[in-house]
Symmetry: C2
Subunit: 312 residues, 2 copies
């Protein structure tokens, strides 16, 4: 088993700690704010029994998983013996550049240093480092202990062996790594999400559909198949002769739509009044926190369902 250094113990850092500890690794957790790692450990201790109850701890007890996670008093203690460092500091370029310089100086030569950033390309905060060949992005969807996909994004100078080793570490921990061939704004998942959201905001701004109509179309429609097949396998199975047959039969529908999608609606413009009014009518602001807890329970139930499907 490896030693994992987690830098930053907010929602993403603590979630990574659960994911790596569940896989059997020793996790060392550090945060710039004193007291933050202790709060993270309390959070983790509270959620592990739920995961065990849902069958999502791979048979380990909550106590055993918790015992693999240690809060450290210094950054050096968290990363000095780590095989893999996972950085989760704020999405500010200068912060990332400074933290990565520190990590490159503190981590042992063989360690991989990964950032959880969703917004910054790895080349932007690793170019100045002596050890830049061992740096890359590993971007999860939160929380990674429930959502398997994670993007592995190399900078132009990232060693191919580092990419391969990172993907293997993730896969062995039950993740589904997306190994990108090169860095690109938005990586893969935010590009796909963005494409969908742009059309969603346009439909509402143009008065074609309501916010709830869009959510129905995905929640009670398209995402059912996507949630166990993805969009390419979906169309591959949606024509008798497979994906080429699908393209021949149906591309014209999408070609016809494309020109009308070449216009961006400012999400913060007039449309946000409509979107927010409709959302708040369904869910008042004071209900957001409860609904987030509901979401996490639903996600856990779905993860457990998918796992049973694979096992069964």
């Amino acid at each position: 088993m490896a030693t994992i250094g987690i830098v930053g113990s907010g929602f993403i850092g603590r979630a990574w700690a659960i994911s790596f500890a569940r896989a059997g690794h020793g996790v060392r957790l550090w945060d710039a704010a004193a007291g933050a790692p202790a709060a993270a450990l309390a959070y983790i201790a509270a959620i592990l029994p739920d995961l065990a109850g849902a069958g999502l701890l791979d048979g380990a007890t909550p106590e055993a998983v918790l015992a693999r996670i240690t809060a450290t008093g210094t950054l050096a203690e968290a990363v000095a013996e780590a095989d893999h460092v996972q950085e989760n500091t704020p999405e500010v370029l200068e912060t990332k550049r400074a933290v990565f310089a520190e990590l490159d100086a503190l981590a042992q030569p063989g360690a991989v240093i990964a950032s959880s950033t969703s917004a910054l390309l790895p080349s932007r905060f690793t170019d100045h480092l002596k050890g830049r060949a061992r740096c890359l992005v590993v971007h999860p969807i939160n929380p990674p202990y429930l959502i398997p996909a994670a993007e592995v994004v190399p900078a132009p100078w990232t060693d191919a062996a580092v990419v391969a080793r990172t993907a293997a570490l993730l896969a062995a921990a039950g993740h589904a790594p997306i190994v990108m061939k090169r860095e690109i704004d938005g990586f893969v998942m935010n590009r796909l999400q963005g494409a969908l959201l742009e059309e969603a905001f346009r439909l509402v701004a143009d008065g074609v559909a309501s916010v709830e109509d869009v959510d129905i179309g995905i929640r009670d429609g398209l995402a059912l198949r996507w949630s166990f097949m993805g969009p390419f396998e979906t169309i591959d199975l949606n024509a008798p002769g497979g994906v080429r047959d699908y393209v021949i039969r149906y591309q014209s529908i999408y070609e016809r739509i494309f020109p009308s999608t070449q216009r961006r609606v400012d999400w913060a413009g007039p449309v946000i009044e409509t979107v927010e009014a409709e959302r708040r009518a369904r869910l008042p602001a004071e209900g957001l926190a409860d609904r987030q807890a509901w979401r996490d329970r639903k996600l856990m139930a779905l993860a457990a369902h998918k796992r049973r499907q694979v096992d069964g």
Copy 2:
């Protein structure tokens, strides 16, 4: 309970028959091909026990649901007493225009006449009809007895009361109607699917990600939350202050991506060689039919899971 006339007994027509019969309605099924309704009834009889086993027949027995469906020898018998007619003939404009003229002549004055078309706007095949105010599109995702979303698309002359009555019929049958404010190419779901697929094909064509990487990003990533919340609720819960807060925090990521999405990749061009080669390496052509059956079982299990979640 209503009487439903189903015109065309292929995959979509027979699936609608199951959905309406399960809801307690009397269904009359007709097809231009002699023998087709009998084949549809055999198919339906084979699938109903599976639905009952998954708890998806609302407590009815397969026999009771099957007994509500009758094959008719003539189109007139199928629609003369129907309250709602659901048309499922081939996606050919002249066919739809001719069939709708017949239906408008045969159906009783109070009946609603709906088409399952995914590709044709209702105004294009109902403009010439005396009863055009009672015509519209009700577009399902197949199979409608497992996927609740269905688009209700009025032509400019469709009576608002017809739209409301159709949405109510669908909702009472367990569907989640998307009531569009006006017709638009691709309706809502194919526009959203198209936006995602355009980006998916671009990512593969540009060598940024593999076909499987895209499927992972959706199947093991984004679609997990989308499958029970939809994209708007997802972002509403993804920032402490709700959807407006999300837009303020994260719109810049998507704005930056947008210019690079203004270019269409021809899906039937060089990229289809890559997509097909990768799909066929994962699933040989001779395995497509088995995998389609696998998909239907997974979809049924997911529908049952979602229903238990709502009940529980």
